[in-house]
């Protein structure tokens, strides 16, 4: 009997419910569009070519980090070490003679640092059962120490021109770094949504016990997610160093928080097993637009931080309500 009732319900609901489901599902995209329209109305210069390309340049490194952060959050984790990895990768970029001949070497060293950090994080979390918060906090601190020990306080040296171009130049008006972000986004979206690996990520995050009973190597899946996050953070660090040009010990500062905020805002659930790369990227876009319009409207730059803080709590509360 209850079956019949339910079937009836689902049939009757299809009309109004579909509209509501649509709104729920695309609330984020709608928010982004509304935000852009509002910003454009309030400040005409918002949609100017210069400002748009500026925003896209800023969005690219954040987007790359968010992709990795999403993987980690999907398996019930959190990666606080991304900013530290970014800064270390940036320091690596200036640690050679600043010529393009070293570009490949820099790439290998930087990405290597990211992958190893991710591996350590993953091993601590999966094999030692350390809480992700503490594991990535600890690697963050260790990396920070190694970095400042290596640079003896302040890094000197130049970012090779290759990375300068990657970080700040455009091709046909599209920033190189955005192209890279786009390629990565597509690649990792496919990995997550269309492969058995991606499915195992969702199952492991959704229910680790079930994953084990299904013969899925949940530890390996978890470790891989942290490695992906580490590697992407290192790449983002290289690109960001090319964008800012000068490297200090704190390139990427705040990216750990921003990437978590963007992912959560984009519907990646901290409880694991739910969310998409696309959602996280929309979250990142909203964050960048909000930051930018704060300045465009003429509010002091400090308001960016305040709004960020409010947005993360509101977004999280929104998803709690939606889940209930």
């Amino acid at each position: 009997m209850s079956q019949a009732v339910e079937t009836n319900l689902s049939a009757a609901a299809s009309g109004a419910e579909n509209a509501r489901n649509f709104l729920r599902q695309y609330a984020l995209h709608i928010a982004l569009v509304v935000l852009i329209i509002l910003s454009a109305l309030i400040s005409p210069s918002f949609l100017s070519g210069g400002n748009v390309s500026n925003m896209l340049l800023q969005a690219a490194p954040l987007g790359i980090v968010v992709i990795g952060q999403a993987f980690v959050i999907l398996v019930r984790g959190l990666d606080l070490s991304v900013a530290s990895v970014m800064a270390t990768a940036a320091v690596a970029a200036t640690s050679f003679n600043g010529q393009d001949t070293d570009a490949l070497l820099i790439f290998v060293v930087a990405i290597g640092i990211g992958l190893i950090t991710g591996l350590v994080n993953g091993l601590l979390v999966a094999k030692r059962n350390v809480s992700p918060f503490l594991a990535t906090l600890a690697t963050m601190i260790v990396l920070q120490g190694m970095r400042s020990a290596w640079t003896q306080g302040a890094p000197s040296g130049n970012v090779p021109p290759f990375y300068r171009i990657l970080g700040s130049d455009s091709i046909y008006g599209v920033p190189y770094n955005l192209v890279i972000t786009g390629v990565l986004a597509v690649f990792f979206s496919v990995l997550l949504a269309k492969t058995t690996f991606g499915r195992k990520v969702y199952i492991t995050g959704g229910n680790p016990v079930t994953a084990r009973l299904l013969g899925i190597n949940a530890d390996w899946i978890t470790i891989t997610c942290y490695v992906i996050s580490g590697g992407l953070a290192a790449l983002a660090g290289l690109i960001l160093s090319g964008f800012v040009g000068i490297v200090d010990n704190w390139v990427g500062r705040g990216f750990e928080i921003d990437s978590i905020v963007a992912a959560v805002m984009g519907g990646v659930a901290l409880s694991g097993g739910r969310g998409t790369i696309a959602g996280g990227l929309v979250g990142a876009a909203i964050l960048v637009v909000v930051f930018n319009s704060v300045l465009q409207i003429g509010m002091p730059i400090q308001m960016q931080i305040i709004i960020k803080g409010l947005v993360i709590v509101i977004a999280a509360a929104f998803y709690v309500r939606r889940a209930a």
Binding site: V130, L134, A138, I257, L310, A316
Partner: protein, 320 residues
């Protein structure tokens, strides 16, 4: 019979093992310090360690309580920054304004903590996210208030940081007294027992009708209060409040807590472990200084200690 007593003593070590390890490490460090420098075991150096550990002790005392409930307070760093600039900004060198300014920042700390708890309870958002967001908001407000050092403190205010009572640093005496009081509170007050109960089994606490809202309001208000108190000692030490002065405390306040054996999952641990953790961190930095190891490496060592601590104490929860 033997089996039972073995299991008993096993349980005892499991229960108090973290403290033994920390005390062991403390002794080991003290011996190392003794060997590497003849200036280590001097009264001046010990006073120095005690003075330097005050701020870390105060902020991690508050942090311990939030972690015992299974939560965390990531807004303490920004709270310290905000309270610092407000304290020296409001006082602005006027001795008559010191008391009102202190009252204001302490009240503000409590208020911010209550807001944190309210969001945790009524918005049902995880404390990690709530306090992260609150931290950003407070940092923004701090920077709106001032981008640089704000105001100054009148002469004599540095007594808190450098003064002595009974020949001991004022701050250290206050900190240890607060730790003992809090330990007694956790053990002998009903609210204190409920902090453990809620961290141990949140659903059970709800079914038993324990006052979760009241407990959370209390612990986050306490944490905010301790952050403001930390700011007062920081300002006393530096003479002026600065907008980034608390930034590092958010995460470093967690180190002594977990090193002292309090589990991030909540319900187990205590403030005395945290106090040992504080002295471990301070002694470590001190000894490394004597060994001429730069502060860069000190960070590495601190990170490694966190890794070792959490992977040693961690409880295997995995059932399958």
């Amino acid at each position: 019979m033997t089996a039972i007593s073995q299991r008993r003593s096993g349980a005892f070590v499991r229960r108090n093992g973290s403290q033994f390890i920390v005390i062991g490490l403390l002794v080991l460090l003290a011996i190392t310090g003794f060997i590497v420098s003849d200036r280590f075991a001097t009264v001046a150096n010990i006073m120095n360690i005690l003075e330097q550990s005050v701020t870390l002790a105060l902020v991690s005392l508050g942090q311990t309580l939030t972690i015992l409930t299974g939560g965390i307070d990531l807004s303490v760093g920004s709270m310290i920054s905000l309270a610092s600039v407000l304290l020296s900004g409001i006082t602005n060198g006027d001795a008559n304004m010191v008391a009102p300014a202190i009252a204001i920042v302490l009240a503000l700390g409590i208020f911010v903590g209550l807001l944190n708890a309210a969001a945790v309870v009524w918005l049902r958002v995880h404390p990690l996210i709530v306090t992260l967001g609150m931290g950003a908001v407070l940092q923004g407000i701090t920077l709106l208030y001032t981008m640089g050092p704000a105001g100054k403190m009148p002469l004599g205010f540095d007594w808190l940081a450098f003064g002595r009572v009974l020949g001991l640093p004022v701050g250290a005496v206050i900190a240890v007294a607060l730790f003992l009081l809090t330990a007694a509170f956790l053990r002998y007050a009903r609210l204190g027992r409920y902090i453990y109960a809620i961290g141990d089994d949140a659903i059970g606490a709800k079914l038993m009708g324990l006052p979760r809202t009241k407990v959370l309001l209390f612990v986050y208000a306490f944490s905010g209060f301790m952050a403001s108190l930390t700011a007062i000692f920081l300002v006393s030490r530096f003479g002026v409040g600065q907008p980034y002065t608390g930034a590092n405390f958010t995460l470093t306040s967690i180190t002594p807590v977990v090193v002292g054996g309090t589990l991030l999952a909540g319900g187990r641990g205590g403030v005395l472990g945290t106090l040992l953790g504080v002295y471990l961190v301070s002694l470590l930095n001190n000894v490394l200084n004597f060994m001429d190891i730069s502060s860069h490496y000190q960070l590495i060592v601190q990170g490694l200690i966190v890794i070792i601590a959490v992977s040693v104490y961690v409880e295997k929860k995995r059932t399958l």
